[in-house]
């Protein structure tokens, strides 16, 4: 039985008293509510009471709009809407709160779509690969409040739910990401946006206009280069046609400068609309990032070019040869096949990372300026750390060399070993908290299951052993041969059977884990998680394996941490040691490789692997190990290992690794994992690929 108007008025009066007046009474509200069903009336009254405790005004507005809303919307949806309005009020005040209340329609529409919302985490992997495939400088994807790019990272919102389907919302993500990628790829920031737009009376308006014009220009480029994507984007364009003056932006030769010129022309007359896939433009952030990158890349390029110079005979190396210095020049700046360089007229083949560098520079500047092509003068690029305190306390201090092993180290300048240069000790890892293992196994339960299955399949590769004295089946080939032999007068051989036999994977693998200080934090976590997953997989496979960590400080205190020896079983102690792996000091890699090579050499196996998990270049405190010396020593240590029949391989998370790892490990003997979070899943996978 619905309540009558009078009874409703009474209750509303009580709840809304503070905001009522002689001109604003509860009477009209009550009359509108009266025709509703009793449950709905109770619902409204209940919420009027609740909202009134927060804000009387908001409650009044709710009461006014409620009869209408309750006819359209289920109470459950209405409740979500009320809560949302109250949240907004708490955060942003009455004005925004009542705006949310009044905008019930779009709230209902959005909530209907919530079921189809796409979260950043779901779209991230695909989009990252998509953007990587589109070429240009490598860009990271990050979550942020608004969509924008700083030319090195693309920031995207946490969720998109404006569209009525998952595919629509994913498309919205893709459209945003593509446009932000295109801004860096096609030079939106290659003109001095900040300065140029500052001269307008309303720089924000000028920026919005510039942004719109650039979007129009990029849309035209996408239509040319990625027609399929352009068709999809057209569905998002909301039928806004740019003004006629924008025609020239569709030209193949149009550039950001044209957009800037048009800002001037259209500033007074045209109100730019905001398209859903535009994101936001942050020219100041870009300017900072871009300037830093350009400085860095210029230095890097000059350094790389200097490295690529043919070695001059020593006598020739007089400092006054300014004129005679070899000159690089660009002959083909076509972005598609990469930049081609000549050195004094002869074309030079560029390593991949130098190519990337040139690409990135020409993306910023549209060309490679001549001053970038001047190779760094000798010494310019020498490591600045080299000269730091040679008299180091540890180096000087008295050292007990008992129980330590001495190793040679390769000095690339002398082209000779320094005899007994490094002092190395084996120590145990302090056992850590076993909870870490349980958490890891729980977190990756599904993947561990998959890994085990994959590795079981590897193990299960059966072989037929031919020409056996006894076995499961007759070896037909052997029988025929025997029969033929017998016919031709030879003795009948006895080995006529074949036997099924589990393939003998005669593999011993040594994992060498970087425990340097730089792994502190989530890299260390990822390393430990990787080891847990790897052990689970290797236990299934039955390959012999050992795990050692390495770190140290200076040549006098190199340390190898025992985590699992070849003879150790994968038991609780080992698990606790894995949990106990902690970042220590530096990365003197050569000596660690030499020691572990010696251990691996003592094992009898047909295939021996030395796999390094690392996060960066070889490095040590103060004594020149950083840089070329360390790289060359490591390379030498790896060559020694290789000579002994060991296959070295490196798994790294250092994005710059492509610059030095090919030199140390060879072109195919390493892999770079860009995303630390994926390390635990990848290490076992890499191992599987290596050994099948």
């Amino acid at each position: 039985m619905p309540l009558g108007a009078a009874r409703l008025e009474e209750q509303l009066d009580e709840a809304l008293d503070p905001v009522l007046s002689s001109r604003r009474t509860a009477r009209t509200l009550a009359l509108a509510l009266a025709p509703l069903a009793r449950e709905l009336q109770d619902f409204v009254l209940h919420w009027v009471g609740v909202i009134a405790r927060t804000s009387g005004e908001l409650a009044y507005q709710f009461a006014a709009i409620a009869p209408d809303v309750m006819r359209k919307v289920e109470p459950v949806a209405a409740e979500a809407w009320i809560i949302h309005a109250m949240d907004t009020f708490d955060r942003e005040g009455l004005y925004r709160g009542s705006a949310v209340l009044k905008d019930i329609d779009s709230f209902v529409a959005a909530s209907r779509h919530q079921a189809h919302a796409v979260a950043f985490e779901d779209a991230r992997n695909v989009l990252e690969l998509f953007i990587c495939g589109l070429a240009g400088r490598r860009l990271k994807l990050e979550i942020a409040g608004e969509a924008y790019t700083d030319t090195e990272t693309i920031h995207l919102p946490a969720r998109i739910f404006e569209h009525a389907s998952g595919a629509g919302n994913f498309l919205a993500y893709k459209a945003l990401a593509t446009h932000l990628w295109a801004q860096t790829r096609y030079g939106t920031f290659n003109v001095d946006v900040v300065d140029k737009l500052a001269s307008y009376t309303d720089p924000a308006r000028a920026l919005a206009l510039y942004h719109y014009l650039e979007t129009t220009r990029i849309d035209a480029i996408i239509a040319r280069d990625l027609p399929g994507l352009a068709r999809e984007l057209a569905t998002l364009r909301q039928h806004v046609e740019p003004p006629a003056e924008c025609g020239r932006l569709r030209d193949t030769a149009a550039s950001a400068a044209d957009s800037l010129a048009l800002v001037d022309q259209l500033y007074a007359t045209f109100n730019p609309p905001h398209l859903s896939y535009m994101g936001t433009l942050h020219p100041e952030i870009v300017a900072t990032v871009r300037a830093a990158r350009m400085r860095r890349e210029k230095k890097e390029l000059q350094f790389e070019l200097a490295k690529m110079l043919p070695e001059r005979p020593a006598a020739d190396a007089t400092p006054d040869d300014g004129e005679a210095r070899p000159r690089y020049s660009v002959i083909n700046a076509d972005a598609v096949d990469g930049v081609e360089l000549t050195l004094d007229g002869t074309p030079v083949t560029l390593p991949e990372h130098v190519n990337d560098l040139l690409q990135s520079i020409s993306q910023d500047l549209g060309e490679i300026p001549d001053e970038y092509l001047t190779p760094a003068a000798d010494g310019d690029y020498r490591d600045n750390h080299a000269a730091e305190d040679p008299a180091d306390a540890i180096e000087q201090g008295p050292h007990d060399e008992d129980g330590a092993v001495l190793y040679n180290e390769w000095d690339y300048k002398r082209r000779h070993y320094r005899k007994n240069w490094c002092v190395l000790r084996e120590v145990d890892v302090q056992p850590g908290n076993p909870d870490f293992i349980d958490t890891t196994l729980a977190r990756y339960a599904v993947q561990v299951g998959q890994l085990r299955r994959t590795f079981e399949m590897l193990r299960g590769e059966d072989k037929w052993l031919k020409k056996q004295q006894g076995g499961d089946d007759i070896d037909l080939d052997a029988v025929i041969t025997a029969f033929a032999d017998m016919r031709s007068g030879m003795e009948l051989p006895e080995r006529l059977f074949q036997q099924r036999h589990k393939a003998e994977r005669d593999i011993a693998v040594m994992f060498m884990v970087d425990m340097s200080g730089s792994t502190k934090g989530w890299i260390n976590d990822a390393e430990r998680e990787s080891l847990v997953m790897l052990c689970e997989a290797l236990e299934v496979l039955g390959d012999r394996y050992a795990i050692y960590g390495f770190s140290g400080i200076t040549r006098k205190r190199c340390e190898i941490f025992r985590i699992k020896r070849f003879t150790d079983r994968y038991n609780d102690t080992v698990r606790r040691r894995i949990a106990g792996i902690l970042p220590q000091d530096y990365t003197r890699m050569g000596v660690a490789i030499r020691h572990l090579t010696a251990l691996l050499n003592a094992v009898d196996a047909r295939t021996k692997l030395l796999i390094t998990l690392s996060d960066g270049k070889p490095d040590d405190y103060s004594d020149n190990y950083r840089g070329e010396y360390g790289i060359e020593d490591t390379r030498q240590a790896l060559i020694e290992a290789h000579r002994g029949g060991i296959h070295p391989f490196c798994i790294t998370i250092d994005r710059e690794a492509r610059e030095y790892l090919p030199r140390m490990y060879g072109a195919v003997n390493y892999t770079v994992i860009e995303d630390v979070a994926r390390l635990p899943l990848k290490v076992a996978d890499v191992y599987r690929r290596l050994t099948t």
């Binding site: 690969l129 589109l134 029969f483 692997l609």
Partner: protein
């Protein structure tokens, strides 16, 4: 001998000797560099040839082309890890109660002065690979112990083999003692203009579609090392082109011929499909 065994033996003995194949029609081949000249010089100097390169970039086609050009029979052996030395050299079989020696493909190629092409040589076991050693240096002989015969290779005979150095497996490396007997010719995906010409010649698709396919290939090659072991090869592009020429919508063709052929990883599959969709 039991009944089933007897029938098995009978089935085996009916096998005929591997026949060398003359390449009758000129295979379509576009030279990317001076590989034809190098191959011809190697052939003239009787030095075996090692073709290196990623899958689907034209190694096998090149050998067919050279066989046609030099007018020599071609014998191709696809190597696998069960390949025994006898599989290459030959064995005794029995017909009509008589033992008959049947040449293996390698011996056959030596006898008829053909080109023997060992495809994906690293897949063969190392002990098998060793039998080619005396044939691959200046002795140019093939000892057939079982048959009590020593074959001398005529000057028309050539040994060629292929392998993909991009494999990261430590179990699949070529021994130095093997590789150092060969002249190496490196293959890679052809430059865009040439690749376009090849795709159009092979599939008859419109130049525009060929351009798009090449863009797609570049995109997947950008992904190499970021989740893909290899980018799309020229062969995959030709497959996609053929599907398109048969009237399959381009997006479907790329999914089937490129994305599914490259990976099983769901995210990667989706990314490649998105890339293809952005082009077509």
């Amino acid at each position: 001998m039991s009944k089933p065994l007897q029938s098995k033996v009978a089935a085996l003995t009916s096998q005929t000797a591997p026949t060398a194949r003359m390449v009758e029609r000129e295979p379509y081949y576009e030279a990317a560099g001076d590989e034809i000249a190098v191959f011809e010089a190697a052939y003239a100097s009787q030095i075996p040839v090692l073709l290196k390169g990623p899958t689907g970039c034209g190694k096998t086609r090149f050998v067919e082309y050279m066989a046609w050009r030099l007018k020599r029979p071609l014998i191709t052996v696809s190597c696998h890890d069960d390949l025994t030395a006898a599989d290459l050299i030959g064995r005794y079989l029995i017909t009509n109660n008589e033992t008959v020696w049947v040449d293996g493909p390698l011996a056959h190629a030596v006898r008829c002065g053909g080109i023997c092409y060992l495809d994906e040589i690293v897949e063969a076991r190392k002990d098998t690979t060793v039998v080619i050693h005396p044939l691959a240096d200046d002795r140019r002989i093939l000892p057939m112990e079982k048959h009590g015969e020593l074959l001398h290779a005529p000057k028309e005979f050539l040994l060629a083999m292929s392998y993909n150095p991009g494999y990261q497996s430590v179990l699949k490396e070529l021994k130095q003692s093997t590789r150092q007997r060969f002249i190496g010719i490196e293959f890679n995906y052809p430059p865009a203009a040439l690749e376009k010409k090849i795709i159009i010649a092979e599939t008859n698709i419109a130049p525009d579609s060929a351009d798009q396919l090449i863009r797609l290939a570049e995109m997947t090659r950008n992904l190499k090392g970021n989740g893909l072991d290899e980018g799309a090869s020229t062969r995959l592009l030709i497959h996609a082109g053929k599907l398109i020429a048969k009237g399959i919508p381009a997006r479907t063709a790329c999914t089937g011929a490129v994305a599914e052929a490259l990976t099983d990883d769901p995210d990667m599959l989706r990314a490649i499909n998105e890339l293809a969709n952005s082009l077509f």
